[in-house]
Symmetry: C2
Subunit: 225 residues, 2 copies
Amino acid sequence: MRCLSCKEEYGTGDAGTCKECYEEASETEEELKREIEDLKSKLTFLRFWSPTENPSGSRSHALGFYDVVLANRSPVFKAMLENEMTESQSGTINITDASYEALRAFVNFMYTAEACIDEHLASELLVLAEKYQVKHLKSYCEKFLVSKLNWDNSVMSYSFAHQHNAKHLLDMALGLITENMDKLTRLDEYTELVEKAPRLVVEIYEAYLSKQVNTAAQKDGSRAI
Amino acid sequence: MRCLSCKEEYGTGDAGTCKECYEEASETEEELKREIEDLKSKLTFLRFWSPTENPSGSRSHALGFYDVVLANRSPVFKAMLENEMTESQSGTINITDASYEALRAFVNFMYTAEACIDEHLASELLVLAEKYQVKHLKSYCEKFLVSKLNWDNSVMSYSFAHQHNAKHLLDMALGLITENMDKLTRLDEYTELVEKAPRLVVEIYEAYLSKQVNTAAQKDGSRAI
C-alpha cells in the first residue's frame, strides 16, 4: 500500500488509518489552523502598545480610557482625538449615520473583538468598519457575509461589496454570478443594477468573458498534452 | 487491516496512511489544540469589558487609561485604584520590591500578554504576578519554569514553587526529585533546605513514600490478574 501522507509504500503491519479517517484528520488539521489564524488576528486587534515600548504614546495619557481604546483600534478615531479637532476638545465623538444597534455592536467589538451578528447587522458594521478603518472588524463582517452568500443575494452582495471596497466578498459574489449567467438577466436586482450602476454590470460581463477565455485556453492546453 | 483511528477493518484499496504518519498527525493535532488553548487564554486576558455591557464600569471613566488597563488585569490594582486609597488619590502606584527589568516586563505583559524572559526574570515576574493576582502571567511564568526544570535546579524550584503557591511547578519538581532520591542527599541545595525549611524536606520524603506504596500496590494488582 502507498501512504497518502508520505507517499511511501508500507506493509499491512505498519497500517495506520483508513482513507476516510485520513481525510477527516486532514480536514481537522486545516480547521484547527484556520482557528489559530483567527485567534491570532483577534489578539493583534486587542493588543495595546505598551507605554514602556511606545514612549510617543504618552500623548494618550491625557485621554480617557474609552478614548484610548477607540484610538488604538481605529486610525480615524486616533486622528480625531489626538489632533486639535472638535472631538478632542469635547471628548465626544458624534456618529449619526448608524443605527443604535449597529453602534452598540461596533463599540462592543472595539473592546472584545466579538460580535453577535446577522446579515443586516454585518452590512451595517462593515460600513462603519470601512469608515473608521477598523480592518479586523471589516474582515470579520466580510467573512460572515461570504458565509451567507447565495444566488438570491449575490447581485446585492456584489454591488454592496463594490461600494465598500470589500474585495473578498466581491470576488466570491462575482464568482457565484458568473457561474449562473443563464439565470442572471431574470433577476430583479439585475434590472435595478443596470439602471443604477451599469458600469458594475459591465464588470460582470467582463469577468464572465475572461473566465470563458481561460477555460477555453485550459481545454486547448490539455488537448495539446 | 484495522484502522488505528476508527478501529474498523478496511481493505488495501481504502488505505490511508502508514502508522508513522498517523502518529505524527495525532501529535500535530494535539499541539494545535494546545496552541488554541494558549491563544484563548491570552485573549481572555487582553479582553476588556465593553462599556455597553458593563454599566458599573463607568467608575473607570474617572481613571486614566493606564490605570484602567492595570485595574482590568489585576484585582489588587483594581482595589488600590478604585477605593479610597493613597493610590487612587495620587494616581501613582509604588512598587519597590522588584527590579527595574522585572517591572518593565510586568507592565509590558499587562498590555501585550507577552514577555521575553529567562529563568531569572520568570521567577521575578512570578512573584509579582502572585502578589498582584495576575493569574495569566503567573501560569505563563510557571509553564516557562517547568520547561527549564532539570536535576540541578529541581530542589531550588521546588522550594520556590512552595513559597509562591506555584502548584504546577511544585508537582513537576517534586516528581523529578522523587525519581532521583538516591542522588538527593548529595545536593548542596538539599543540605540548605534541611536547615532553612525542614518541613519541605519532610514533604519530599512523604511524596516519595506514597509513590513507593502506590507502585507496590500496582504491582500486586497486576500480579493478582
